[in-house]
Amino acid sequence: MAAIAHDTHEDHGALHHQFENIEQQNDSYIVGMWTFLVTEVMFFGALFLIYTLYRSMYQMDWYLAHEELDVKLGAFNTIVLLISSFTVAVAVRSAQRKERGLVLANIGITIACAFIFLIVKAFEYSAKFEHHLYPGPTFGAVPEHLNGANANYAQLFYGLYFGMTGLHALHIIVGIIVLSALFNLWWRKCDSVMKDYIPTELVGLYWHFVDLVWIFLFPLMYLMPKPH
Amino acid sequence: MPFNFPLQPPRASSFADQHDALFYTLCILTLLFTTIVGFGVIFFTIKYRKGSPADRSRPIYEDLRLELSWTIIPLILGLFIFYWGASLFVTMRVPPKDAQEIYVIGKQWMWHVQHPNGVRENNTLHVPVGKPVKLIMISQDVIHAFYIPAFRVQMHVVPGRYTTLWFNATQPGKYHLFCSMYCGTQHSEMGGTVVAMPAKEYAEWIANGGQSTTPMTMEQSGQKLFTSLACNNCHGAKDTVKGPSLYSIYNTRRRMSNGELVLADDAYLRESILRPHNQLSAGYGQEMPEYQGQLTEEDVIKLVAYMKVLGLPTAAVPTSGTDRGSAVTTGARNSMTPLSSNAIQFQQQGENPTDATPTSRKGNLSVNAIAAQQEAAGQ
C-alpha cells in the first residue's frame, strides 16, 4: 500500500491525486463499479419482484397475453446481446494488451449490436402500439391480440413488459453513449484509455450487466410455460 | 377552556383490558430502562466529572459478561413482549364463529355501515354490548382505516379486497370513530360515533329499522318526517327558487302573494302543509304538492313541532335519550376562516353544546335522510 518510489507512468495511466498508487486507484474504480452494479441489481430487482408476484397471481391470463410476443425476435435479440458481450470482453482484453485496433473493432461491433437490438425492439414496440397493447385508456381496443386474456390482467402484463424492457432499453441507450465516448477516446489515442485499461474495463462491466438483465428478461417474458 | 387531562381512552371492549395490560407493562419497562440509563448517565457524569477526586484506576474498556448480560436480558424481555403482543394480535385477528357481521364501506369522505337486516347508517355504528361483532370492510376508492380507540381496534379498509376486524363491546356508550389512513381533503372529518347499546336495546333498534323504541320527541318525529317526505329538497337553509326557507319561521310575519302580511302560527303552518295553494308565499307559485289526504293530523302536528325549532342556533333537536357529551372547548376563531361547514358548525355551537359533533352528522337518522342532510349542511 505504500507508494512505490519510482513510478514512471509508462505502463499505466495518470495517477489521480487522491490515490497513493496505481493499484489503489485501479482497485477503487473496480470496486466502485461493482458497487454501482449492486444498486442496479436492486433497481431492476424490485421490478422482477413485482413481475413475479403478478405472474403468480394471474398465470393463465399472462400466459395468454404473452403469446403476442414474438419469440423469434426475442431470441434474435438475445443472441445479438450475447455477441455484444463477447466483443466487449475482447475489447477489454485488447485494452489490457494495448491493441488499439482490436479495441476499436470490438467496441464498434458492440455498438452495432446495441443498435440492432434497439431496432428490433422498436419493431416489437410499434407492433404493440398498433394493436393497442400499451397501458392506457385505449388498451385492448383490438381484442384479438389479447388472445383471450382478461383485459385488466393483460394490461398489468403489458405495463410491466414496457416498464422492464423500457428501462432495459434505456440502459442500452446509455450504454451506446458511453461506448461511443470510449470509442472516441480510443480513436483519438487519448492517454486516459491508451495507457489505462480501467475505463474500458468499467464500461465492459456495465455492458455485461445490461446483457445479464436481458438474459433474465427474455425467458421470463417470452418463454412462459403454459400453466396447468 | 376547561382543564381536562384525560390520560387514557375509555375501555369499552374485551380487548381493552388485554391491550392495556400489555401497554402498561411496556410503559413500566420504558420507565425502568429510561431510569436506569438516565440514572447511570447522571450519576457517572457527576461522580466522574472532570477533575473530581474519584478512583479512575484500572478502567474497563471491554467486559464480555457485561455485554452478554445487557444483550441477553433485553433480548429475553423483548421476546416476551413479542410473544405477548403476537398472541394478542392473533386473538384480535381471528373472530369467533358466531360473531355478528356488519358491513362497512369506506369512501371519500364518509363511512357507510350496513347491518345484515338492511338497516343502514352513515358515520355511525350501532353495536350490541356483550356480543362479538365482526366488521367486513371494503373501500370504494382509496385506502382508509377504521379506528375505534375505545375498543382498541384499527384496520385498513382497502379497495379491491375485504378486510375484517372484530370486537366485543363491553360498555354501553358513545365512542369515537375515526378514519386513520390519510385519504384526502376531509380525512380528519371522516369520523363519527360508535354507539354500544345493551343487547336488548340493540335488538329493538335493529328490528325497528334503526330507530330506538324509546319514544321520540315530537320534534324528532317531525324531523324524521320532514326528511322522509323530502321537504328539505325544496325548503333549505336559504330561500331558493324551489321554495322559501322555513328556518326560524314560527311566529314571524310573512308576505303572501296577494300582498297580505300573515302571522306564521300553528294554523298557518298546518294550512301550508295540507293546502299550500290556498295561501302562497310572495314570489312562489303552485310548485309545492298538496299533502291533504296524505298525512294524518298526528303527522302534521309533528311537522309543525319540528318547524318551530328548525334553524335555531344551538343544537336544536331535543332528544329524549341521554347524551354522553364530552367536554367541549371552543377554539380561537377568525370569522374569515374558510372552514368546512362541519367545522363552522362546531365553532358556532357556543359554550355548552350537548356534544361536539356538528349537527349535520348527528342522530339516528334513517337512510333517506342522508342525502338531504348533506344538502342542508351545504356540502
Partner: protein, 588 residues
C-alpha cells in the same frame, strides 16, 4: 473553565495556550477563490460545506411547515388554514425533512468532511462523483420546491397508493421525480463511502482502529446502496401510473395497492437506519472525546452497527401490521423487530458504561450527546410499543407514532447533528463559537423538545390519529396539542440560536487551533481549517483509536486547574501550584 480552550500541541498535553495566532496558512477555504472554484470543486471538504448550506436551507423550510402545523393544531377546528392546505403542509414537512434533511445531513456534511481525514486519506475515492451527488441533491431539492410552489403535494411523505397514483390532484409527479433524483444523490454518496473506506485507509489503519464514526458511515453506505434503488423504482412507478396510466397498483385492474407499501417500506425502514446510524457514529466520537476515555465495548458497537444495518432490511412489515398482510407475515416482522432493537440497546449501555471512571467535560457537544442518550432511549423504547403487534393495532397511525419517530429523529438524529456541528465547527471553520450560549442552547433544545413531543404520546394513546387537520370530533385532545405547540416554540428557538451564534463566530469568533478540545483522531492533528490535501504526508497509524488514559487525563486536569488557580491568584502558591508549575516548565 471551559471557556479557555485547552490547546495542546499534541493530544494529551493539558497546557493552556493563548489563542493561536492568526493563521495565514492556506486552507481548503482560502486556497482557491471564486464561486466557480466552489461550484466545480472536487474537495470533499468544500462539498461538505456546500451540503451544509443546502441542508440548513431545507431544514428551515421544513421547520416553517412544522410551525404551521403546530399553530393550526391549537384549535380543534383549525385556525387559519383550509384542509387542503394543511394536508399539503404536513406532507411537505415530511418530504422535506425525510428526503432533503434526515437522510442527507450527517453523512453528506460530516461524513463527506471527515471520513477521508479520519482514515488518513487525501480525499474520497471519487471526487467528481461526490460533486455530482451534491448537484443531484440540488436538482432534486429544486424539483421538490417547484412542487411546493406549484401548489404543493399531499398524501403524506409515504405516498400510499391508490391515493397518490390515482386520486390526488396535487403535484405528486413533480415531487416524486425530485425525490427520485435525490435518491441517486444518496446512492453516489454511498458508493463513495464504501470504496473509500475499503481502499483508502492509511497504512496501519486497520478496521478495528477506525473511529466508530467511520464504521457507522460504512454501514450506512451499505444500507443506502441496497435500499435506495428499490424506493427509487417504486416512486417512479407511481409517477408512471399517474403520468402514463401504467397500471401497477390499481386495484380496479387487478393491481395490488398494498404491494406499494411493501416496496416503499423495504427502503423506508432501512432509511431510518440511514438516518440514525451516522448519528450513532457522532455520539461515539463525542462520548469518547469528552469523557476522555475509549468507548466501552468498541467491538460490540462496531458489530452492532453492522447488525442493525443487516437486520434493518428484514423488518419493514412492522409498518403494515393492519394493512391486510397476513398475520403470519406480521409475526415474522414483529419478531425480527425485537431482535433489531437489541443492538441499539447495546450501544446505549456501552456509551453509558464509557462514562464510568471517565473524566467528563460538560462542554456543549457533550451536552448534546448526553441529551441524545436520554431522548434516543425513550424513542427506541417507545418503538417497542409499535413493534408489538397487539399494541400496534391501537397505536399505529396515531400521534403515538409521530411522537416515537420524532424522539428518534429529532431527539436522536437532529441532536447528534447539532452535537457534531458544535464539535467540528472549530475544525471546519477555524473559529470558536460562544460556548456559554451553546450550552444554554443544548438545554433549550432538550427541554423544548420534550414539551413538544411528550404530550403527543399521550394524545396518540388516547386515539388522536395523525395527519388530522381537524379534531373537533374529539376536542378533548386540545390541551395536549396546545402543550405541544408551546414546546415547539422553545424548540424553534433552540434551532434558530445556533444559526446566529455560529454565523457570528465566522465573523468575529476567536481563531481555533488544531485541537481546541484536546480530542483524539486524525482530524485533530491537522490545522483548523484543514489544508486542501488534508495531510502533508499520509500518516502511518500506530496508535489505537480513542487512546486516552483516564488516570493521566485526571492528573492533567488537576494540573490545569492549578495553573488557572495560580493565574487567577498570582502570588498564592499551594501544593497543586508547585506540581503545576513543574509541568509547565516541563513543557509537555
Amino acid at each position: 473553565m471551559s471557556a479557555i480552550p485547552v490547546d495542546p500541541t499534541s493530544a494529551g498535553n493539558g497546557v493552556i495556550s493563548q489563542p493561536a495566532p492568526a493563521a495565514s496558512e492556506t486552507n481548503y477555504i482560502n486556497e482557491f477563490g471564486g464561486l466557480k472554484s466552489w461550484l466545480l470543486t472536487g474537495d470533499h471538504k468544500r462539498i461538505a460545506i456546500l451540503y451544509l448550506i443546502s441542508v440548513t436551507f431545507f431544514f428551515f423550510l421544513g421547520s416553517v411547515a412544522a410551525a404551521m402545523i403546530r399553530w393550526e393544531l391549537t384549535a380543534p377546528a383549525g385556525v387559519v388554514l383550509e384542509s387542503d392546505t394543511y394536508n399539503k403542509v404536513f406532507s411537505s414537512h415530511g418530504v422535506i425533512m425525510v428526503f432533503t434533511f434526515l437522510v442527507v445531513a450527517i453523512p453528506s456534511v460530516f461524513g463527506n468532511f471527515f471520513l477521508p481525514i479520519m482514515i488518513g486519506a487525501r480525499d474520497m475515492a471519487f471526487p467528481r462523483l461526490n460533486l455530482l451527488s451534491w448537484y443531484l441533491y440540488m436538482a432534486g431539492g429544486i424539483l421538490i420546491l417547484a412542487g411546493m410552489i406549484n401548489g404543493g403535494v399531499d398524501g403524506g411523505w409515504t405516498f400510499y397508493t391508490p391515493y397518490s397514483s390515482m386520486y390526488s390532484n396535487s403535484n405528486v409527479t413533480l415531487v416524486l421525480t425530485g425525490v427520485f433524483i435525490i435518491g441517486f444523490s444518496s446512492i453516489t454518496t454511498g458508493i463513495n463511502f464504501i470504496v473509500t473506506t475499503h481502499k483508502m485507509r492509511a497504512p496501519g489503519m486497520t478496521w478495528f482502529r477506525l473511529p466508530l464514526f467511520v464504521w457507522a458511515h460504512y454501514a450506512t453506505a451499505v444500507v443506502i446502496i441496497l435500499g435506495t434503488p428499490v424506493v427509487a423504482i417504486t416512486l417512479l412507478l407511481v409517477v408512471f401510473e399517474r403520468a402514463f396510466k401504467l397500471p401497477i397498483f390499481n386495484p380496479e385492474l387487478g393491481g395490488d395497492p398494498v404491494l406499494f407499501q411493501h416496496l416503499f417500506w423495504f427502503y423506508s425502514h432501512p432509511a431510518v437506519y440511514i438516518m440514525i446510524l451516522p448519528a450513532f457514529g457522532i455520539i461515539s466520537e463525542l462520548i469518547a472525546n469528552f469523557a476522555r476515555k475509549r468507548v466501552f465495548g468498541y467491538h460490540f458497537i462496531a458489530f452492532s452497527t453492522l447488525a442493525i444495518a443487516g437486520l434493518g432490511f428484514l423488518v419493514w412489515g412492522h409498518h403494515m401490521f393492519i394493512s391486510s398482510q397476513s398475520m403470519y407475515q406480521g409475526i415474522v416482522f414483529s419478531l425480527i423487530s425485537f431482535l433489531v432493537a437489541v443492538p441499539s440497546a447495546i450501544k446505549v449501555f456501552n456509551w453509558t458504561a464509557t462514562l464510568y471512571k471517565a473524566n467528563i467535560r460538560l462542554q456543549s457537544p457533550m451536552l448534546y450527546a448526553l441529551g441524545f442518550i436520554g431522548l434516543f432511549t425513550v424513542g427506541g423504547l417507545t418503538g417497542l410499543f409499535l413493534g408489538s403487534m397487539g399494541t400496534d393495532v391501537h397505536l399505529t397511525a396515531t400521534y403515538f407514532v409521530v411522537a416515537h419517530f420524532h424522539y428518534v429523529m429529532v431527539g436522536g438524529t437532529m441532536t447528534a447533528f447539532l452535537g457534531g456541528l458544535h464539535y467540528w465547527w472549530p475544525k471546519m471553520t477555524g473559529r470558536l463559537y460562544a460556548e456559554g450560549l451553546a450550552k444554554a442552547n443544548a438545554i433549550i433544545v432538550f427541554l423544548g423538545f420534550n414539551l413538544t413531543f411528550f404530550p403527543q404520546f399521550i394524545v396518540g394513546w388516547l386515539g388522536m390519529p395523525r395527519r388530522y387537520h381537524y379534531y373537533y370530533l374529539a376536542p378533548e385532545y386540545q390541551v395536549y396539542n396546545i402543550m405541544s405547540t408551546l414546546g415547539s416554540g422553545f424548540l424553534g428557538i433552540g434551532f434558530l440560536l445556533p444559526a446566529f451564534y455560529l454565523s457570528k463566530s465566522l465573523m468575529n469568533g476567536r481563531k481555533a487551533s488544531a485541537n481546541p478540545w484536546g480530542a483524539h483522531g486524525l482530524e485533530w492533528e491537522i490545522p483548523s481549517p484543514p489544508p486542501s490535501t488534508n495531510f502533508l504526508q499520509i500518516p502511518i497509524v500506530l496508535d489505537e483509536v480513542y487512546d486516552f488514559d483516564p488516570v493521566t487525563e485526571y492528573e492533567q486536569d488537576r494540573a490545569q486547574q492549578a495553573i488557572e488557580h495560580a493565574h487567577e491568584h498570582p502570588g498564592m502558591m499551594d501544593s497543586h501550584d508547585e506540581t503545576a508549575s513543574k509541568l509547565e516548565e516541563g513543557g509537555h
